[in-house]
């Protein structure tokens, strides 16, 4: 990873390679944002992580809030005291935060406030691929959409300015491809953040009881009109003119714009492209004029036909004879999955009747021939992951019949064979909620599997519900002492804050007891016998029981050993091995492999957790002699 201090260099004009998310972090510094809050989630995590690493030096207050709605509330409180704020989250995080954001749109802000939503087309690391631009329409909030790291930085600053001008939160919407692409970014000047403001009491403006909400709705709608004027003149909404061919024109935004430019070039189409960077509210007049000037307009966008729907509405008033192509009436581009240069190339070739410059069919056919039967390599629990031990214990004690209601985190990977733990999963915290309905309506043992960070995020209200309504479920908290999947961010159970200061740990045991759980135990999952006995007892309990499987994330353990100059104490197979394959069949550890049909431990992958040695029926696995 790059040294985060690169972001602090106050060298105006310096050109640096940054990840889209790091560029947003740089934008935070240049915009003088004082309060940054987040809950980690791919593909947004590096925004908060970059700021956390330099927050005290930069004079920024940064926190990993317990969840996204709290993150919005904290920053919105600060922004209502005139301090500039930003909250970053993944797309589904905005579902959690939506309750706050929808009415914050009525209340507004005094200091500029930006909500970054990082969408995940293709569900690379998410449970769905919702298009959050619709939140801009729903909430009436302005929305900016960068297409590369430079714009990500610049638009962060512009979003703050627009927010202050309109006294409204502004959305900055990225996608995985924007957040996780690196590109050159030219630095501007860093602005020293202001951390202190003042709270000005104004009940009519700030307290949304019905009598105040009604007029505030109209205030919001008037602000949208002002935002539209900004959008008409915005430098981010511009026509990139390519010549005299006025038959076709393209309209695009975000990373789809990159594909559109490259695809047009490859097809030899010299056409005008209207690039939209401010996508709510849309510049109606600019789009109307563009529609008038072209006979056929192609809307190139990712996921939902968000632009196309509005462009067609505008076309009705401005240029009813102009044909609009996209994905609605005739699907020229896919509406699901990540868009790509290839998909745009094929769509544009189809619409314009041009020949594809690459023979995809031939290459694909040859490719299929060479990769047929190639074993897949899906994401797996790391070698040494304590969740593997927990799942082994669950499988052994509760077996195939129990229903495992699982949740969002590394442990979702328990669904892979041979562990097969995870029967239903929708969103953060829902493991505990759904387990209650399953337990109520079936006779099966129901285990809710939830991680430590997810427990704090949204597990607690569900736990209270389970206890109070006397649902007979086992809540298994897989506590690896970090938010592992998103890159080891702290949470209230870790004792560290986003400012990298120490805070008193909040013990999950005590939270559970406080929620009224009468049966709470903690085990080390690598201590297999004890863990098995404890789980058996939990399953016998007549109400809500909670068992914490606690062992640190294997990556943290290995990192710590390396930092101390200690090697990793790997394990090896001894001559006692009968090649019964029990370790492979029960654990599915990526470090246990086959070498010419014989069980083998891959020395570069083993992290020395010793789980395989504990389960080997022949005691044929032992620590390697030295390291």
């Amino acid at each position: 990873m790059p040294n985060p201090h690169v972001l602090l260099q106050d060298e105006h004009g310096k050109r640096v390679l940054l990840l889209g998310n790091e560029a947003i972090a740089r934008g935070i510094l240049e915009a003088g944002i004082g309060v940054v809050t987040t809950y980690p989630g791919t593909p947004a995590s590096e925004i908060g992580d970059s700021i956390s690493a330099i927050a005290s030096e930069a004079g920024v207050y940064m926190e990993y809030s317990v969840n996204e709605i709290v993150a919005v509330e904290v920053a919105a409180g600060a922004a209502n005291c005139g301090v500039r704020g930003l909250t970053a989250m993944k797309h589904v995080g905005l579902n959690v935060a939506a309750d706050a954001l929808m009415t914050l749109a009525y209340v507004g802000v005094r200091g500029g406030y930006v909500v970054v939503t990082a969408d995940d087309p293709e569900c690379y690391s998410s449970q769905n691929e919702q298009d959050n631009r619709f939140y801009a329409l729903l909430s009436n909030l302005p929305c900016l959409e960068p297409s590369n790291p430079q714009e990500a930085k610049d638009m962060t600053i512009s979003a703050v300015e627009i927010s202050e001008k309109l006294e409204l939160p502004v959305m900055l919407r990225t996608t995985t491809r924007v957040s996780h692409t690196r590109g050159p970014v030219v630095y501007g000047k860093i602005t020293k953040p202001r951390l202190k403001g003042s709270f000005i009491k104004d009940v009519e403006r700030l307290v949304m009881v019905p009598a105040n909400s009604r007029p505030k709705h109209d205030v919001l709608l008037r602000a949208v009109e002002k935002a539209k004027e900004i959008s008409e003149k915005s430098p981010y909404n511009k026509i990139i003119s390519k010549g005299k061919n006025k038959e076709y024109g393209l309209i695009s935004s975000s990373s789809a714009y990159n594909y559109a430019v490259e695809a047009a070039e490859l097809l030899g189409l010299t056409v005008d492209i209207l690039k939209l960077g401010m996508t709510h509210p849309l510049p109606e007049k600019l789009i109307g004029q563009f529609l008038k000037e072209h006979k056929k307009v192609v809307v190139v966008e990712e996921l939902e036909p968000y632009l196309e729907m509005q462009v067609k509405t505008i076309a009705k008033d401005y240029a009813p004879t102009t044909e609009v192509y996209g994905k609605m009436r005739q699907p020229h581009f896919p509406r699901s999955g990540e868009l790509s240069t290839r998909a745009v190339l094929i769509g544009l070739a189809d619409i314009t009747g041009r020949k594809l410059p690459i023979n995809f069919q031939e290459i694909d056919a040859r490719y299929v021939e060479v990769v047929t039967g190639l074993p897949s390599r899906p994401p797996v629990l790391c070698a040494g992951c304590p969740h593997r031990a927990s799942f082994y214990v669950m499988r052994k004690v509760a077996g195939e019949k129990a229903v495992y209601s699982t949740d969002i985190g590394c442990y979702t990977l328990g669904i892979e064979p041979p562990l097969n733990i995870g029967d239903i999963m929708i969103c953060m915290g829902a493991s505990i909620g759904m387990a209650q309905g399953i337990s109520k309506t079936t006779e099966t043992n129901t285990i809710a599997v939830i991680g430590d960070s997810t427990f704090f995020h949204s597990g607690i209200p569900r736990l209270v519900n389970a206890v109070y309504n006397n649902h007979r479920i086992v809540v298994a908290v897989l506590d690896n002492l970090t938010t592992a999947m998103t890159g080891h961010q702290p949470h209230p159970g870790t004792g560290v804050t986003g400012m990298q200061t120490v805070s008193e740990r909040i013990a999950i045991e005590k939270v559970a007891e406080g929620c009224g759980v009468k049966w709470v135990r903690t085990v080390n999952p690598f201590n297999i016998k004890e863990a098995e006995e404890t789980l058996k007892e939990a399953l016998r309990y007549s109400g809500t029981s909670l068992i914490i499987f606690r062992a640190p994330c294997a990556l943290m353990v290995v990192r710590e050993r390396r930092r101390k100059g200690l090697g990793v104490a790997t394990y090896r197979i001894t001559e006692k091995c009968t090649n019964c394959m029990a370790c492979i069949k029960m654990l599915g550890c990526p470090a246990i492999t086959l070498e010419k049909g014989k069980v083998n431990i891959h020395e570069n992958l083993c992290t020395g957790c010793g789980l395989c040695a504990s389960v080997c029926p022949y005691k044929a696995i032992e620590p390697s002699a030295t390291d």
Binding site: Y124, S125, R182, N258, E262, S376, V380, L594, K596
Partner: protein
């Protein structure tokens, strides 16, 4: 300069993303326009990892189209094959030899495919393939974790990267923690000389 496309393919934990970032940083040092694409997946380790580096004035997106890669840096043989669609007969394929059997293979009680077979399939796309003993060289440098830099050295030795060795080394020094720089410089040199000689 004409557009330059490089694909890096391996397994999470092998240092694919860092190698791509070193290349991208070096390109910026040369004053070039660049896009580095990467996917941060569901797993921290063990899943397939692919990264792309695209250099050129007209480069907007990080996507490499089928058959358009100038280079494929393969960190692991099966993952190299999995990404071979990016190659044409002109592509230089530089491949490391650390085999990491996918768990699926182990669960099905199957051996890792023969290297001969993998090479034969790769050659249906490009015959310009150089095998590098990355595990041995990385260990010789001081750690298996330096195999990404061994591969960078190997790629640099072809003289066909649009980036100077000087910029690559500078980028490497910026991105690798101070205490590991010496080891990585050695890895770079070992990879460089392995292909050169």
């Amino acid at each position: 300069m004409k557009e330059f496309n490089l694909v890096l393919a391996g397994v999470g934990g092998q240092g694919v993303l860092l190698a791509a970032e070193i290349l991208g940083t070096a390109a910026v040092k040369e004053g070039l326009n660049v896009r580095v694409g990467e996917i941060h997946g569901m797993a921290q380790r063990g899943g397939a990892a692919v990264s792309t580096v695209r250099i050129g004035e007209k480069v907007f997106s990080p996507f490499v189209l089928n058959g358009q890669a100038n280079f494929i840096l393969g960190f692991e043989p099966l993952e190299t094959l999995r990404n071979i669609k990016y190659a044409s007969e002109k592509t230089l394929v530089i491949m490391g030899d650390e085999k990491i059997p996918p768990p699926e293979l182990t669960l099905k009680n199957m051996d890792y495919p023969q290297m001969k077979e993998i090479l034969k399939k790769i050659k249906r796309f490009s015959k310009n393939i150089t095998l590098v003993e990355t595990s041995r060289l990385a260990k010789e440098a001081g750690s298996i974790l330096t195999q990404n830099v061994v591969l960078l050295g190997a790629a640099a030795s072809t003289g066909k990267l649009p980036i100077s060795n000087k910029s690559l080394i500078e980028a490497l020094k910026e991105l690798i923690p101070a205490q590991h720089i010496k080891m990585n410089l050695k890895a770079f040199e070992l990879g460089y000389n392995y292909v050169k000689n």
